[in-house]
Subunit: 332 residues, 2 copies
DNA sequence: ACGCATTTTGCAACCGGTTGCAAAATTGCA
DNA sequence: TGCAATTTTGCAACCGGTTGCAAAATGCGT
């Protein structure tokens, strides 16, 4: 089927090692030899079999790109950045969709069968057991958008979700709201828990302000819509910190449908600063999450791990900042 | 590093072939043998190296999932469906991002190096040369969301874009608009061209109705917004067929910003029927594209090709239908 | 032209599996 | 129990590459 190294060697009248060496950089080949081989290779349309070579080198240049979030448009950008970033470094993303997968062992087995050189877990909702399971299998792991920890077991790149919760709370206080709400994503996700905990910690310093909370089923527009419709029915707070922009935008749509308006009747602050957040008709006040930096840094970290798999686990946290737009009342 | 077949064989006290056979279905192994081997394998935590076996079997179970559209949220769903569908059949998607890639040869080389068993091109904007190049390299190819053709060179699964253009035009005529517009996606994309051509063909039967056209830079919210803002400045038509829902929603946002309203001042009909289209505050009249069926059918076709690579190229077209919501005036 | 150091080349073993073939073990039946 | 038919097993070669090692070739100084 495909042209093999052996055929190239025969046509060039040289040994197989010679051919192998011309395609391995750092190997010693004379110019004459190189020219001969390259000629033969071109004539035959040869390109080396990366998988076969991985057998002896132990490197496949395959990186497992593992996620379970296929409903938040922000992840389309995340995939875009990851795939391009990895490709630029000669690495190939093997996409693994863990939606509905509950047993880390399955995915570990799968990734091991394909002997990936490393795994990037790109998800804020996947339980940390998955990243741990990969690490335990001896595969370099970077958990992007994962939970910050003072004693990290795997490399984590992301934001300080607790601090984001705080920031949002402080902002709502500053704006003079006296009844605020936290509308989180899926309750089990660490990102939700951390944002919640930061939010509530800050609010506990303001006993005069009423703080309520609830959780949407998923980080998706629809979940946000549904949850806000429910809240509106049961007497909503004056302003909400939504655990993600998709939730916020879903919530805005619910507010709109109910004949209410934002920020006049209800304030909203989101998190992510996705593209849509800046549309004039949405104009969402939100906390900016530096997606691009997180992805870039994750890839750099992964590349570093490939060189030194024993590298000591680190946590890289990027600062977030509030982007003021039009979904909160001006404040005092 | 990883446990190998040889180690399992030694521990179980059997030959390497025996171990190989227990992990290959269809091979003949006695129950006693199988038990011995499985015990040893479990003790050692062995899982076979799929890449090594691919050397002799010639199958990697790797499928190249090639796309260049990482801005249209509909594609997040497409990726979700593809990855899950492929995984369910024991196939692994190798994601290839062709944004900014112009030379098919590069991607061909890359996919060949990883000896993928097949390639799914999931894009409505990628030039057909890419799919052809893969086919010429001897790799089974399915082009999903590709251009229908009466003499297909590769397998194509998608919709009849010309007919969609027609449908949209007919609908606008039926509603009594006397000046209509086509607002397409990127001008070079075959999907855009076909939708345009269908639209204009139909309109040419109505010389009394004025028909104009223009193109957005990309299939993205922002491009739709920008294009509609431009149109609004230069005296817009009464209603537009937008080449995709993201364009439509971007356009709606532009209309909203300009203090106009839809459908009172301007009508919009989209294409895709993405999740957001049904939100009450968007309520987009649109042409439904059966994404799920297209993906499912593409995967089935790919699986069939793996069995019979010489299979004669076919084109699978799924019907679309108009979903009436609230962005067109009621009509006569 | 010679001897020595350095570079280039080929041999052969190996990576982790699969598989055709023949030998060994098991089965069925008289 | 004996023997042929059938099943199970192991040997060894192979898939498409890489690499340590020693032999061959080259370069250099005199």
């Amino acid at each position: 089927m495909a042209v093999t190294l052996k055929e190239v060697a025969e046509r060039a009248g040289v040994s197989r090692s010679a051919v192998s060496r011309t395609f391995t950089d750092g190997a010693s080949v004379s110019d004459k030899m190189r020219r001969k081989v390259e000629k033969a290779a071109k004539d035959l349309g040869y390109s080396p079999n990366a998988l076969a070579s991985s057998l002896t080198t132990g490197r496949t240049k395959l990186i497992g790109l593992v996620s379970n979030n296929f409903h938040n448009p922000i992840f389309l950008e995340v995939f875009d950045l990851f795939t391009r970033g990895l490709q630029d470094r000669g690495l190939r993303p093997l996409l693994v969709n863990l939606t509905d997968e509950t047993d880390p062992e399955n995915s570990v087995r799968m990734l091991r069968q394909y002997s990936v050189d490393g795994v990037v877990v790109a998800s804020s909702t996947l339980p940390p057991e998955f990243a741990k399971a990969f690490r335990d299998a001896g595969v370099p792991v970077v958990h992007s958008f994962g939970r910050a920890s003072s004693a990290p077991q795997v490399h984590v790149v992301g934001i300080d979700n607790v601090e984001c919760g705080r920031m949002a709370a402080r902002e709502l206080v500053r704006r003079g709201y006296t009844h605020v709400g936290f509308m989180g994503g899926p309750e089990g996700a660490s990102s939700t828990q951390d944002r919640y905990s930061g939010f509530m910690t800050e609010m506990s310093a303001h006993p005069d302000i009423k703080a309520s909370h609830s959780f949407a089923d998923a980080y998706s527009f629809d979940a946000g819509r549904r949850e806000m419709l429910r809240l509106l029915k049961n007497g909503p707070a004056q302003a909400y910190f939504c655990g993600d922009d998709v939730l916020s935008i879903g919530a805005l749509s619910a507010i709109d449908d109910s004949g209410l308006s934002c920020p006049d009747n209800i304030g909203i602050i989101g998190l992510n600063d996705m593209e849509m957040a800046q549309w004039e008709n949405i104009d969402l006040t939100t906390i900016h999450q530096p997606i691009r930096q997180i992805v870039t840094s994750s890839i750099e970290l992964m590349v570093a791990m490939l060189d030194d798999p024993e590298r000591y686990p680190e946590t890289r946290i990027f600062p977030c900042s509030i982007v003021e737009r039009g979904t909160l009342k001006p404040g005092i």
